[in-house]
């Protein structure tokens, strides 16, 4: 193999008349690169890997699934510690957000009518398979716990001979809520593995941080929603959950942005960059505001909670968009692989 690059037409986007080279420059590149652009070759600037075909359904699901997980944990804690208002809204929020999750997941399928094919197999090599199974366990449990909030009303409204049904529902509330909370950490975390287990550069390179970011973002969202919907006297656990989540989220995001090398550009540029910046500002402001004023003022609690929820939305959409952008530019596939080979970490796919 000759080491020298042949002189000739450079198929990099600048030299090649490929249409894609021009299109992808429109995305708001503003930064002055600290290091000069890494040189790389490509086939007319076209992507090497394919971006996922996923629509905004999927980042919406990442947010909703996290919110469902965090809310069911808050609901279980509130149930066990005697905080009825926090328990009620958290159970309802867990059911509503798991409902949104299921809708978005089915809606994004190329063949929604075949959604149940997800339950044909159990595959540890497929995070989507294990995730679907965890949602399958979580959904009904969260549903029973939420519907059981209606048990006292039902008991009053039902004819006497049917009241046993309402009482049964009431009794099942705690076991169902605890069952949902037991699965919740998996529901809120596996999505970080799901996207890391791809060839999409930003997601795969972010494999060290993504499970932590997604788990923390779940805590932030659920805590934020608890602060909005619960009187301040009962919202202490929501505030603390959100604060811990926000701290871990910001730390893990910082580590991701500083450890990804050239691929980190996708977290700073374009729409993804704006979303990630918004996520950091909203998460930090919401956490600080909640801890300082969340106990004293309901208005401050609602504002801080809304910022935290919005911050979690921005995190999920930002990481999603950054991954899509990283797959659409061959630079983020080729350059890190070349660097890995230059470091001696791999001999690549070429042999003689």
């Amino acid at each position: 193999m000759s080491a020298d690059r042949p002189a000739g037409v450079d198929p990099a986007p600048e030299a090649a008349p490929g249409a894609n080279g021009r299109r992808r420059r429109g995305g708001g590149r503003r930064e002055q690169p600290v290091v000069p652009d890494a040189k790389f070759e490509s086939y007319y600037g076209r992507p090497v890997v394919k971006a996922s075909p996923w629509k905004p359904d999927i980042p919406t699901y990442f947010f909703a699934g996290g919110l469902a997980a965090g809310s069911s944990l808050l609901a279980a804690g509130a149930d066990l510690t005697g905080r009825p208002a926090l328990r009620r809204v958290s159970r309802v929020s867990a059911l509503a957000s798991v409902g949104v999750s299921l809708y978005t997941l089915v809606h994004d399928l190329g063949r929604p009518a075949r959604a149940l094919n997800m339950l044909r197999v159990v595959k540890p090599t497929s995070p989507m398979s294990l995730g679907t199974w965890s949602l399958t366990a979580f959904g009904p449990a969260a549903g029973v716990a939420a519907v059981a909030e209606l048990a006292p009303t039902l008991e009053r409204k039902l004819p006497v001979r049917l009241r046993w049904a309402a009482r049964l529902l009431g009794w099942s509330a705690r076991p169902a809520g605890l069952a949902a909370a037991a699965v919740a950490p998996m529901v809120g975390t596996y999505t970080g593995v799901l996207i890391a287990d791809t060839a999409t550069p930003t997601w795969h390179e972010g494999q060290r941080e993504l499970p932590y970011i997604f788990a923390a973002s779940a805590a932030t969202a659920a805590g934020g929603l608890g602060m909005i919907t619960t009187p301040v006297s009962e919202a202490g656990p929501a505030r603390r959950m959100a604060a811990i989540g926000a701290a871990v989220d910001l730390a893990a995001e910082y580590r991701m942005e500083t450890s990804l090398g050239v691929v980190a550009e996708t977290l700073h540029d374009g729409r993804a960059g704006q979303l990630m910046k918004a996520s950091k500002v909203l998460t930090a402001a919401g956490a600080v505001g909640g801890m300082l004023f969340g106990r004293r003022s309901r208005i401050a609690a609602v504002a801080s909670g809304a910022a935290l929820v919005a911050g979690s939305v921005c995190t999920k959409f930002g990481i999603f968009e950054a991954g899509q952008a990283s797959a659409q530019d061959p630079k983020y596939t080729v350059v890190p692989q070349r660097q890995r080979m230059d470091r001696g970490g791999s001999h690549g796919a070429v042999s003689t």
Partner: protein
């Protein structure tokens, strides 16, 4: 750290020495089948693209688009492109490269094929015409030994055939799209289009003509290739043939020649469909160091377990760490 996840995950997700078919549970399968695509004798006729479309009933995916990339208006592999011929124009002498299946001879002078030049005669001022070569390469699904698309498929639609190839079961795929970003080569894709288009909404890619293989036939693309640039056969034998071809090309002075995907120690455990290239892989749109993403999955699950425990601990701390 000992985690419950250690139990199922200590086993490797990668194929064993018996080959991918045995690893997938086939008992006494036929020998592993694959392609050796020798791009040094590809003439860019696209017979493979046409034969594949015709045999497999692959719908059209854009008829009149001009991509401005030499003679390639196909663009890339995708849901409705299972063979893709790349064209790369370079200022480089042809060397001993010749069309046809004849072996190159070191002493043979370069053959003028009448290909276009970047400069007209005399234009460069020194009386010499600039030199030119055309790289053509027919790309295809690699049918990886360790296939990410198959690993991540949540429905079991993607499966390992008895021939060691990777095939989508059209009647099972629900179009979740997970295999698309998982493939390190950007091969598999979900077919988009109006309802009524064949297999719309589900993942599609080369099957290595599973139906033809079952009948003892050669895949359509290899059958149609007029120069035997696409060679079909047992992977072991094809690898040996490829090594011999490389040796001959190097002896003939074509030092650019190299194999891509033929090494069982590469990031995907070796490709069932591998290539002889005349330049770096990325020039052809191929990743220089593809790695099956599931190689890192056990480590990812362990991190997720730690994060999940952390999330549960956060909830506990939120309730016990304070007054109200």
């Amino acid at each position: 750290m000992k985690l419950p996840f250690d139990l199922p995950l200590n086993q490797s997700f990668e194929a064993g020495p018996e080959g991918p078919a045995v690893d997938a549970g086939w008992t006494e399968p036929p020998s592993r089948k694959g392609f050796f695509t020798d791009t040094s004798i590809c003439i860019g006729c696209k017979a493979c693209e046409v034969a594949c479309k015709e045999w497999n009933g692959v719908p059209q995916d854009g008829i009149y688009e001009l991509l401005g990339s030499s003679y390639d208006n196909t663009g890339a592999l995708g849901a409705s492109t299972w063979r893709h011929v790349a064209f790369i124009e370079q200022r480089k002498p042809l060397g001993g490269e010749r069309t046809g299946v004849a072996e190159p001879e070191a002493a043979a002078p370069p053959v003028d094929l009448g290909m276009p030049s970047f400069s007209r005669p005399g234009e460069s001022g020194d009386g010499e015409r600039s030199e030119f070569r055309w790289l053509m390469s027919s790309d295809v699904c690699k049918h990886c030994t360790d296939a990410a698309c198959l690993d991540v498929c949540p429905t079991g639609s993607l499966f390992r055939t008895e021939f060691g190839t990777v095939v989508v079961q059209d009647d099972i795929c629900n179009g979740c799209g997970y295999c698309v970003p998982a493939c390190p080569y950007g091969v598999i894709e979900r077919r988009e289009g109006e309802s009524g288009v064949k297999n719309v909404g589900i993942a599609q890619k080369c099957t290595l003509c599973y139906d033809r293989l079952g009948a003892g036939k050669t895949p359509a693309c290899a059958q149609a290739c007029p120069t035997e640039s696409i060679q079909f056969g047992d992977v072991d034998e094809l690898r040996e043939r490829a090594r011999q071809r490389i040796r001959k090309l190097h002896e003939a002075g074509v030092t650019d020649a190299r194999l891509y995907g033929a090494d069982p120690d590469d990031g995907v455990g070796g490709a069932g469909a591998f290539f002889l290239l005349l330049d770096e892989p990325e020039v052809y749109g191929l990743p220089p160091d593809p790695v099956v993403t599931t190689r890192d999955l056990p480590a990812m699950w362990k991190r997720a377990a730690v994060a999940a425990v952390g999330l549960a601990a956060t909830a506990v701390a939120a309730f016990i760490g304070g007054r109200r």
